[in-house]
């Protein structure tokens, strides 16, 4: 279980009809699932949908009462496969993950699912990790919907619309026997808003009933000749059924039609930005009252041809606001208009950027251009554009380009992964550079300064697989990284099992921080905590020995930099053949602090003897060369400008946020850096024995200090 409590969020899941829910978009979706009588939920955590998984993991009581099964999937492929339960049974099921990274992994199962089709509503909640704050490759989930004939919802980014999309999604899925994707962007997942709740529903068809009386339908299985029928069924029956449903239920929305002979078509997710852009041009108010006709695609796949032609027929020109590339919607709409022989001008990616996030400023510029070009008579002076233009010209603002330093994410204070890379940097100094294949996870921060270690990253759990080509006799061995998250996601089988099978000679470093830390500190099989609803403490070491790795070293305290360095060196130089695997274990500091800090404070309050460790730098010993920082990058290991006029460069300084992990001291010791680091052990509530010893020590030491000070001839 993540070391963070979601008790308040869990409470909100119990809200009944008429009560107002206040919270994040992704939690509104979680609540909506229960309101829709979902039978099971599965998924793989990752921003921006982690909270859906976290909250349900903590909501075992409610799920038990409703009879809903919650599955923590091994990966997104496993999550998608879970939807198989909705193939023969009328059970509503939902799965979730970060997209497109997760959808890539899920594709195999999704294609099989979509081919045979579903009986119960199958909803795939996609956290579209695109634009600012994203940690993955910038792609669109749209293509997955198109290739597999899965319907794609992209609701307006407010809580009532998102909740309605969940309800519509299940019904659309059932009406057309097709899985439905619900795409929610990062900011919509984290938008704070409210909606009026409904009562939770028990699943109409409980899973236990399916187990009791199993059903099968061989026509739904992807095997010839059924697979050929599936394709025909998708086009001839499911597609028209979906179109009918979308039209009848008016899932797409039209506003202010007839106001002008120009209009805007947009993805639902772009609606708020478009309204703001119109408002800043005097063409809408903050309540969404627009003077320009709007066609809002809450369903972005499939498009409803009649609705498109009806909307465009009365317009000279239409702007399409479509985020991401390629411009699937624009191509599709152009084709529809062409077939209908309509001459409406289509503007879109010619005045809006082809690639990149459509932020407020981008949409404002595009809409402004559209009005200028196509509806000049509506144009009123815009102060915003002038303001921003003038601002860009201020010399002091221009000068900031060379001043403000980049601040990418990095390892947290006290992170147990830092010493691993400190050690690796030391090994590289000795044995030269190596090819290092990275993986997905916090450890990927190694590619940034100060470590600058790592050449590629090919996907979650694929660290070793991406070093597979480097399995030839040579001077040096390749190193691959993998986190415990990636290890259980698929790395054990695809990376490590196959390294054994192919007799790889690489060095594999598994970073075991006791959690899937990068996604929010969720438990995995090898987590150390005892979790009442999951089996933990299944060690990585046993797993890798189980698949046949012979050379395994387990480092149980990553902060031991010297040992880490020596073990790496040994792995790189040993004559033994086969993969050399090092498990480097220490708990994620973020989660450790969340757990231990309150315990420490309580113990101190209760009068117990407690020791707090903190590191420091003796300013007068430090020469300001920052060698220690180059082997650490810890946020707490910073600098300060010395008061000593003889020290021109800032000296190292440990901030009060230090958690005493020990990395500074270990590195200083291992590398012979400098003797300026010290660890201070602060004893809270010292015992009588402590105080006695302290008095004795202070007596002797104080005498010697006074003696020497008295003999010193120095300026005061």
């Amino acid at each position: 279980m993540a070391e963070r409590s979601f008790a308040r969020e869990v409470r909100d899941l119990r809200l009944g009809a008429g009560q107002e829910f206040h919270g994040e978009g992704i939690l509104a979706i979680t609540k909506a699932l229960l309101q829709c009588g979902v039978g099971y939920v599965a998924g793989y955590q990752g921003a921006p949908i982690s909270h859906l998984m976290d909250v349900l993991a903590d909501a075992q009581d409610i799920l038990g009462e409703l009879g809903v099964h919650f599955e923590t999937s091994a990966n997104e492929g496993a999550a998608a496969a879970t939807l198989a339960a909705s193939v023969p049974y009328p059970i509503r099921g939902a799965v979730t993950w970060k997209s497109t990274a997760g959808t890539n992994v899920a594709s195999d199962a999704l294609s099989n699912l979509a081919s045979g089709g579903v009986t119960g509503g199958a909803l795939i909640i996609i956290g579209e990790d695109y634009g600012e704050g994203s940690s993955i490759m910038q792609e669109r989930s749209h293509a997955f919907a198109m290739k597999s004939q899965i319907w794609l919802l992209d609701p307006r980014p407010n809580l009532p619309s998102i909740v309605k999309a969940v309800e519509d999604g299940f019904e659309l899925s059932e009406a057309s026997n097709t899985p439905v994707m619900l795409e929610v962007r990062i900011r919509a997942c984290h938008v704070h808003g409210s909606f009026v709740a409904k009562d939770n529903q028990k699943p109409a068809f409980p899973i236990s009933e399916a187990l009791a009386s199993p059903r099968r339908n061989v026509d739904r299985i992807v095997l010839p000749p059924a697979s050929f029928d599936h394709e025909q069924d998708k086009i001839k029956r499911r597609w028209p059924a979906a179109i009918d449903f979308i039209k009848q239920r008016r899932l797409n929305e039209i506003f202010a039609d007839g106001e002008q002979d120009v209009g805007i078509i947009m993805q639902g997710g772009m609606y708020n930005s478009v309204i703001r852009a119109l408002q800043l041009n005097g063409l809408a108010d903050v309540y969404g009252e627009s003077r320009v006709p709007l066609y809002v695609l809450n369903v972005t796949y499939p498009l409803v041809e009649d609705e498109i032609t009806d909307f465009c027929r009365s317009k000279r020109s239409v702007l399409i606001v479509e985020e991401g590339q390629p411009e699937f919607l624009e191509q599709n709409i152009r084709s529809i208009l062409h077939k209908a022989k309509l001459t409406t001008t289509i503007r879109g990616k010619d005045i809006l950027p082809m690639a990149g996030e459509y932020t407020g400023g981008v949409v404002l510029d595009g809409v402004r251009r559209f009005i200028e070009d196509e509806a000049g008579h509506l144009l009123v002076g815009s102060e915003v554009a002038q303001r921003v233009a003038a601002m860009r010209e201020i010399p002091e603002v221009k000068a900031l380009a060379g001043v403000v330093p980049p601040r990418p994410p990095g390892f947290c204070t006290g992170c147990p992964e830092r010493p691993i890379f400190s050690a690796m940097a030391l090994v590289e100094k000795e044995l030269g550079q190596h090819h290092i294949s990275c993986d997905i996870g916090c450890h990927l921060f190694s590619v940034l300064p100060p470590f600058n270690l790592g050449a590629t990253t090919m996907g979650y759990g694929l660290g070793q697989s991406s070093a597979a080509a480097f399995n030839v006799p040579g001077e040096k061995r390749a190193i691959s990284m993998m986190g415990d998250g990636g290890f259980w996601h698929n790395g054990l089988a695809s990376g490590i099992g196959n390294a054994v099978f192919n007799k790889a000679d690489n060095v594999i470093l598994v970073v075991d921080n006791h959690y899937a830390a990068a996604t929010g500190g969720q438990d995995v099989l090898s987590s150390r905590a005892s979790n009442p609803s999951r089996s933990t403490n299944n060690t990585i070491e046993r797993a890798v020995r189980g698949v046949g790795v012979k050379w395994v070293k387990h480092i149980k305290r990553t902060y031991d930099v010297a040992r880490m360095r020596d073990t790496l060196k040994e792995a790189l130089t040993t004559l033994q053949k086969g993969p050399k695997l090092i498990v480097a274990s220490s708990e994620c500091m973020l989660n450790k602090q969340r757990r231990e800090k309150p315990l420490f404070n309580r113990a101190v309050k209760d009068g117990k003897r407690m020791v707090r460790e903190k590191f420091g730098v003796d300013e007068d010993v430090c020469t300001g060369d920052h060698a220690c920082i180059r082997l650490s990058g810890c946020p707490s290991l910073s600098m300060k400008v010395s008061d000593d006029p003889l020290k021109e460069d800032p000296v190292a300084h440990v901030e009060s946020s230090c958690v005493g992990c020990g990395n500074c001291g270990e590195v200083a010791e291992a590398v012979v850096l400098c003797p300026s680091f010290y660890r201070a052990d602060v004893i809270y509530n010292p015992t009588k024995g402590d105080r006695f010893m302290a008095r004795v020590r202070a007596g002797v030491i104080g005498y010697l200090q006074r003696r020497r000070a008295a003999r010193r001839v120095v300026f005061a």
Partner: protein
């Protein structure tokens, strides 16, 4: 009827705009808490508010942004909820809150701050980015430039060191920022409403309220004056000790007045390092430099030499480190740094890793050199010595070890290390003397190059290497009128990265001249 007149009859679009607030922070600073407070504040006071953020891995200690929009809820209207934006529009942000100075700079760069409508509230403290910290020299970004840009770019620019205020109240910066937001009076809610929101949150209420009050009060005062370099302490009239007074007299008689403050800083360090006689040697060296100096220029050669010669003479040997680690003042300083309460005990553990090189350096020159020149012995002894040692300075046994080491100061002049350092200083100052006659500005730059020699073990060796290369290049350039500029550039380059890549590049350029 043309379109324009058709519009004349249409309902006038409501010109009401939401208040837009962007929070620029670093992951872990509590920006989310601040955003939640502001949303709760608005909602509790009958407003509609929406916030968005982009958490996730991208947030781990990196720059991140929270965005809030709010406007009064409509009473009796049937027009539903307002449509609020999820991303800020450049030029349309009313309040930018920056939890660190460079993040304020980033907000300005992203055009979220405009002179017409933006109140910029920033903490002026610095939390250095990795790229600033890894520079071997001084990589700190210029804060004054950000402050200057803020003054030009914002309608109102309010700032002070909120991290210090938070620490003073044993609280977090988000509470101080909320206080500053209240104090800036940019939102239509009074102080009581803000405080009620904190109370309602129920977590750490008292400390948060104290920090809030600190922020509220301080933001209403004028921003702090720019940091000016602390003036050096002046040369005192007398020291209360006759031997030291003689040194002070010498300073006054033999060295130019503009250099006195720096000379005193150096003299104090040198005497502290060794003894009064060593102070005399320091003045001898400076006096020799001063004879070459030029009054018309403000004696830069002497001033710079006063700094660099002192640092060079106070090299960091085992004796020095042991001395600094065992002083009573250091014990007190550590207690202060870890914020220990009077009833708490503090013990230090030092992380030391003396190598055989350091041991030889501390031996009498002949013996030390003999060992260094006997590879098998050097190696064998190295195996015994060369390991990390955790020294518990607060215990009697370990303290005695360091105390005795520090006491070896009386033998320092005969050690191998002392001989080497002295020779290096002599060669360097000889070069300075030669150059001073030939190219005065270049001589000043060569003095300054001593800054490259710093650190311990490998770092020290690399620094010495850089120094040698820059000084060698300086000699080749001696006859060029712009030699000083080139050497300054070389020195700056040498301080940019550890391996000396920038220096390599710069040296290539110099070689092509």
């Amino acid at each position: 009827m043309d379109s324009a007149s058709a519009l004349a009859g249409a309902p006038v679009a409501d010109l009401q705009k939401p208040i837009c607030i962007a929070i620029h922070a670093m992951g872990g600073q509590g920006g989310g808490v601040l955003a939640d407070w502001i949303v709760a504040l608005a909602e509790d006071n009958g407003w509609v508010a929406q916030s968005t953020s982009v958490p996730g891995v991208a947030q781990r200690t990196g720059a991140t942004i929270y965005y809030i929009e709010m406007l009064p809820a409509r009473l009796g209207g049937n027009r539903g909820a307002p449509v609020l934006a999820l991303t800020p529009v450049p030029g349309e942000v009313d309040v930018v809150i920056a939890a660190e100075l460079m993040e304020a700079g980033r907000a300005i760069q992203r055009n979220f701050v405009t002179p017409e409508n933006t109140t910029l509230i920033a903490s002026s403290h610095r939390s250095y980015a990795v790229v600033e910290k890894i520079v071997p020299g001084n990589g700190i970004a210029n804060a004054e430039q950000v402050l200057e840009a803020g003054r030009k770019a914002a309608k109102r620019f309010l700032y002070f060191d909120m991290a210090a205020e938070a620490e003073r109240n044993n609280s977090v910066i988000s509470a101080v920022l909320l206080g500053a937001l209240a104090g800036a009076e940019v939102l239509p809610f009074d102080r009581g409403a803000f405080e009620a929101t904190i109370r309602k949150g129920g977590v750490g209420v008292e400390t948060s309220l104290r920090a809030f009050a600190g922020g509220y009060g301080r933001i209403r005062q004028p921003p702090p004056a720019a940091d000016v370099a602390k003036p050096l302490p002046a040369l005192p009239q007398n020291s209360g000790h006759t031997a030291l007074d003689r040194l002070l007299d010498r300073v006054r008689q033999e060295l130019p007045e503009p250099a006195h403050a720096m000379v005193f800083a150096g003299l104090r360090r040198v005497v502290d390092f060794q003894d009064v006689a060593y102070g005399g040697e320091y003045l001898d060296r400076l006096a020799a430099v001063a004879t070459l100096d030029r009054a018309g220029r403000g004696f830069p050669l002497t001033v710079e030499a006063a700094r660099q010669v002192a640092v060079a003479m106070c090299y960091d040997d085992v004796i020095r480190v042991a001395d600094l680690k065992t002083r009573a003042s250091r014990f007190d300083r550590v207690r202060g740094e870890v914020d220990a309460a009077p009833d708490q005990l503090v013990y230090m553990t030092e992380f030391m890793h003396p190598r055989i090189e350091e041991v030889c350096g501390t031996l009498p020159a002949a013996l030390g050199r003999a060992i260094e020149n006997t590879p098998w012995l050097f190696k064998a002894l190295g195996r015994i010595v060369d390991r990390g040692r955790r020294v518990k300075t607060g215990t009697v046994g370990w303290f005695l070890v360091l105390y005795v080491l520090a006491g070896m100061q009386r033998f320092r002049r005969s050690t191998l290390r002392h001989g080497e350092e002295t020779a290096h200083i002599a060669a360097w100052l000889d070069l300075v003397r030669t150059m001073a006659a030939r190219n005065y500005d270049l001589a000043v730059e060569i003095v300054k190059c001593r800054r490259l020699v710093k650190g311990y073990s490998d770092t020290h060796a690399r620094g010495l290497g850089k120094f040698d290369r820059v000084v060698a290049a300086a000699q080749c350039l001696a006859d060029r009128p712009d030699a000083a500029d080139w050497v300054r550039r070389l020195r700056d380059a040498a301080l940019l990265d550890e391996e000396g890549k920038a220096l390599d590049g710069a040296l290539k350029t110099v070689a092509s001249l």
